[in-house]
Subunit: 173 residues, 3 copies
């Protein structure tokens, strides 16, 4: 039995998405993949393709770079949705100069009222030296606040390192 | 019963200070906040203000950007002191071109002889790619050495990620 | 009784090498240190010297910046080999523009067929903000993939933070 909400945090290329996919696939639920990434350049395009090729036929892909609420509200209780990832979602909003606090509140509300189980993937970005430019520092702080809020709303929170999970909150099923 | 010395490590915007504050507030001890930060610009000023506004009336604030020994020696056994943080302290000393090894020895001695319980907050800064400039690499290495020494002197050491603690040493009370 | 293969991940200046050395020294096995670093400048030279001075007489040092297979094949079952580290090895190969996937396959095969126990040290580099330059992003991703593969091939995997180990896989002896 999977928890209602799961938060999967990890570094870049840490295996966090692959771990989250296996976690969802271990259930008999309908699998939904909510992609927040936007292919802005060839490098990003390639990253999205690698993720797409790895997922099998059981997965349905929904694209939602900004407002996740309609997509989450459309899912029923026999579904699980993997949202990949909070970092791309935040990056989209920062580039669009959205009110981040309001967008974060809307996101948390949409997760809380979602009938399906949800698994949110996100990046840990705060363990390097202080970035030189102010925008990178703002992003790092906004990502930190978002991760704290997502972990607080989840029943299970894991940190994936080198493909392996450390449990931060709750118990692995 | 809180341990004599606690080391709280975390990334930027990881919730480490808030966690450390709650940890101290769970006791009946007199609460002391030893601030090592210096408001050098508007951004830093804003960060200090946010931390200050969050703390309630039980807290007494002491400012000590360089030498913590006199402030720590003035505290009695019915007190707990939250030192926030080792990273700002190290940064102050690096900018002042102090002998870091000597300053670290003095700090560790002051903690060992402190009658009050102490909680030291610090940053993990070594999990990014190698920084371009030599000063950032020196800082990263000095911070690493300081974190190892502080963890070795603490009875309890935790890593706070997304607001949640992982125990590195000892047992959470 | 030490495991056949151990993976020791950590940040810069996290105490991961010192931890790995103590781990090996706790056994009665013949101690081999396989150094992958190349002293390209004074800073690197200094880092190598610090590591060398710390190791006692029980250690035999082998230098192998590129192909580890011959060195690993020469060891017998009464030996343990500390490979320090996967990050330098990867860096050497990236600078030489080797086929990384093939080099990684060769490395994993050499570890699997090694009669001696092995301990591989590596860096976590993916927990900072996205690096500005494309080469740093490529390195970060290649390091992430390598860490996942090494952890998958190890019986024991630990993350060293502030000198203290968190177990990611297996059980500490």
């Amino acid at each position: 039995m999977l928890p209602s909400g799961t938060f999967v945090l990890g570094g870049a290329a840490s295996g966090k998405s692959a771990w989250a996919e296996s976690f969802c696939e271990s259930s008999d639920l309908t699998l939904n993949y909510l992609a927040t990434g936007q292919a802005r350049d060839a490098e990003m395009d390639q990253r999205i393709k690698i993720h797409k090729d790895r997922r099998n036929d059981r997965w349905q892909t929904i694209e939602a770079p900004f407002d996740l609420a309609p997509a989450l509200a459309a899912l029923d209780g026999d579904s699980i949705v993997l949202i990949d990832c909070a970092t791309m979602w935040l990056s989209n909003h920062m580039l669009a100069e959205t009110d981040l606090a309001a967008a974060q509140d809307d996101l948390l509300l949409a997760l809380q009222s979602c009938a399906a189980k949800w698994v949110m993937v996100s990046n840990e970005v705060g363990h390097g030296v202080v970035p030189d430019n102010a925008l990178a520092r703002q992003f790092r702080d906004a990502q930190g606040r978002l991760n704290i809020a997502l972990a607080a709303h989840a029943d299970l929170a894991v940190l994936v390192t080198a493909g392996l999970p450390l449990t931060l909150k709750g118990t692995l099923p």
